[in-house]
Subunit: 231 residues, 2 copies
DNA sequence: ATTTAAGACGAACGTTCGTGCTATATACCG
DNA sequence: CGGTATATAGCACGAACGTTCGTCTTAAAT
């Protein structure tokens, strides 16, 4: 996976001095932007929080747009570290597919970014504003969607998921549940939403799994009252 | 339904003169805000577009927050007219439940607001910004969720939907599909997303419907070729 | 015909934004 | 040690923001 290869190269910095503070700036920028948005991420605000001058900070980036793009790239690195890599420790097929969704929900729930999913927030902020920022966000979210879809296809190739399910359709559904949980959590502080999303995803995985695939899913959790005696 | 009662009262205006321009302002405001956001909705921009002075326009509202709140209320009125009322023409039960979702998707697809779903955009803009604006948006979106949930319960009471399905869970799923379609449409211009959301919703309705409920759903559409017609 | 009140206007306020220019401090290299 | 980049700071700018103020026009009420 190209994603894994690039994590090695990203380690060491540019010119040692400036590279380090630049990284420090970007880490703070990601945190602010996830809560206040990429436009609410103000150079003055960022400088104050880091006890720097506006101009000193600004010198690290040629423009505000560059700062936004660099912030997005940093967020992507965090996302890969916090979601993609852990999920890829699970074996290819249904286990990895499930873990991708599970870890994603945990990453929002656990407050990796203080404003929920960084990219969901950025996408809705820039979706009506054409330009490089919007394009990059769209590209990164597509990466995610493609990763989920590929995990679905691999599950089918491994004989763990029925081949009569459309991978694109299922990826759309999983992504929707994640967006829905993120929405409910951010707007209402509803932590139950994550459990709901997990239940919806698991229900679908179970229904479409072959026997060999179903055995790789977590055991059915008993609901209060009654459970999947449905149908 | 209280929603229907309030459509009658909203007809006539306040002081005839001022009420009319105020309404004109708000209609333009809703359109701008749906694309540029409630914060991107600038008083100067609004005044320019309407060939008014900033101060003359501003006098209709005591503050920017008041303008935002009034804009939200106007958007809600549009939403009720364009989505709720048409859906409530369908008979109670599964037909109304399906039509609620179907009309919602059409309302985004058809560009009632040029920036997709007004409330989805506003929610993600203000979900990390406490205050009256955020509270009102959250309240309105809850109204919608409750309306969908009630339609589910009514479908069960009418014996058209199996009672072993959790209404809150199903409402979460339908809402997620709508958010997912809105997301794909705004970020990628993907019109197929609406068809995908409809398919997901219908599939679930069919699976959980009783015989009497299933007969009230639209006929099954044949898919092109095999499921592999996607990209 | 006179008074009153509302609506719209232009100008200006103070603040904050992104962005340049210029000077100083700090670190690295011969 | 001195010299040269590089990093940061200080300062100022033009524009845009929300907001306030005083004035003029216009239509209704007396």
């Amino acid at each position: 996976m190209d994603v894994i290869a690039e994590t090695k190269a990203a380690g060491e910095g540019r010119k040692a001095r400036g590279g380090r503070t630049r990284q420090t700036i970007l880490e703070a920028a990601v945190d602010i932007a996830s809560a206040e948005g990429l436009e609410g991420l103000t150079i003055g605000r960022l400088a104050t929080q880091l006890s720097m001058s506006k101009s000193g900070l600004f010198a690290h980036f040629g423009s505000k747009e560059d700062l936004q793009l660099a912030t997005i790239e940093t967020a992507r690195t965090v996302f890969i570290r916090e979601v993609i890599l852990p999920a890829f420790e699970a074996e290819r097929g249904v286990p990895r597919l499930w873990k991708l969704c599970d870890v994603w929900l945990s990453y929002v729930q656990g407050g990796v970014f203080s404003g929920g999913c960084f990219f969901a927030a950025a996408a809705s902020e820039f979706d009506s504003r054409p330009g490089p920022v919007r394009d990059r966000i769209a590209g990164i979210m597509k990466e995610w969607l493609v990763t989920v879809r590929r995990a679905i296809v691999e599950s089918q190739e491994a004989g763990q998921l029925n081949t009569d399910v459309d991978p694109t359709q299922l990826a759309f559904e999983f992504n929707s549940f994640e967006l829905g949980a993120n929405w409910a959590f951010k707007l209402y502080g509803d932590k139950q939403a994550f459990a709901r999303a997990r239940e919806s995803i698991l229900e679908r995985l179970r229904r479409h799994s072959t026997r060999s695939g179903a055995s790789l899913l977590p055991p059915i959790k008993q609901k209060r009252g009654r459970t999947c005696a449905n149908r």
